[in-house]
């Protein structure tokens, strides 16, 4: 959730300046923070003993497909609205962080309730 909140803050900051170009320092900082939290989450998740990775991969895969489609639509809107240069790059990276984070959230919420016995049997 922290990743999503940081991404949302970055996008809101940039959108509030549109159509002008916002100073990119704060947005880049929020992007770095969001990415760092995302990576930290993945590291912590990888250390969970007996986690139902088979269920995690199943749910994350399909959710990622859905959010790639959604992310593609949002990226299309950015380009259609003539966002360009460094602002487009930062917004695209924020969007990428979002697209990667939501499937992890959904898949973790599902997989955490899988029985350990079934997870180990697979």
């Amino acid at each position: 959730m922290a990743t999503i909140a940081l991404v949302a803050a970055g996008v809101i900051y940039l959108a509030a300046y549109l159509p002008r170009h916002a100073p990119l320092g704060p947005a880049a900082g929020l992007l770095v923070a969001a990415a760092a939290v995302l990576v930290a989450n993945l590291v912590l998740l990888s250390r969970q003993p007996g986690f139902a990775w088979w269920r995690f991969r199943q749910v994350a895969g399909w959710t990622l497909l859905a959010y790639v489609v959604i992310g593609g639509m949002i990226e299309y809107a950015f380009i259609y609205d003539r966002t360009s240069g460094a602002v487009l790059a930062v917004m695209s990276l924020l969007l990428l962080t979002f697209v990667l984070d939501v499937p992890i959230l959904v898949a973790f919420t599902v997989a955490r309730f899988e029985e350990r016995a079934r997870a180990e049997a697979r």
């Binding site: 803050a9 809101i12 959904v106």
Partner: protein, 200 residues
């Protein structure tokens, strides 16, 4: 993040009598596809009437749904018997997996384009602060909905599909779902205030 204990009592309904829900209602996918496709056409063509339609209809339906789920259906579910709760949840939740993201996409995509076409994104727009306020409200809703509400929705459906669903897990997830629907419902009230402010 830690794994949840599974030493909890399971739901009592025999497996043969239980409905086994779809995670994503496949019959609804073509409808959602048409809606989103026409949205993309409306944006590409700057079709103002269609953008207004999408924003008003999507926003109205999304707002009403969030308020209903959070403040009417939630308390009602809490008073139902366990078998009734399970059946309602089994029938309702798959529909929401498709419905809410479609309504949200309709509302936000068309809303941003309308703001751009109407000059509301410009810093010189007299009520620009209210526009930015609407961004903040949507950001809060997105964080709550994507971080808590949608994962709970999906997780409930996976639990209901198990041969012996864990009732305590379902109750915990549904409680999270209903409470977060209430939070987003309150955010919707803030959105109503902002939107009527911008329109007046």
């Amino acid at each position: 993040m830690t794994a949840t204990s599974h030493e909890l009592p399971a739901a009592s309904a025999p497996a043969a009598e239980r409905l086994r829900p779809e995670i994503v209602p496949l019959r609804g996918l073509p409808i959602a596809g048409v809606v989103i496709g026409l949205l993309i056409v409306s944006i590409a063509g700057n079709w103002r009437w269609a953008l207004d339609f999408y924003h008003v209809v999507g926003g109205g339906a999304w707002t009403a749904l969030d308020l209903f789920l959070g403040f009417v259906l939630g308390p009602t579910i809490g008073r139902l018997s366990i078998p009734a709760r399970v059946e309602l949840t089994t029938r309702l939740m798959p529909k929401l997996v498709l419905l809410i993201p479609t309504l949200v996409t309709m509302t936000l995509a068309s809303g941003f384009q309308l703001a751009r076409l109407n000059g509301m994104l410009s810093g010189g727009y007299p009520q620009h602060a209210w526009v930015v306020a609407s961004f903040v409200v949507v950001g809060v809703m997105a964080t709550v909905a994507l971080g808590l509400l949608e994962p709970a929705n999906i997780a409930v459906l996976f639990e209901l599909r198990k041969p012996v669903p864990n009732g305590a897990v379902i109750e915990q997830l549904m409680r999270r779902f209903i409470y977060t629907a209430g939070v987003t419902g309150l955010m919707q009230v803030a959105t109503l205030i902002i939107m009527t402010r911008l329109a007046s």
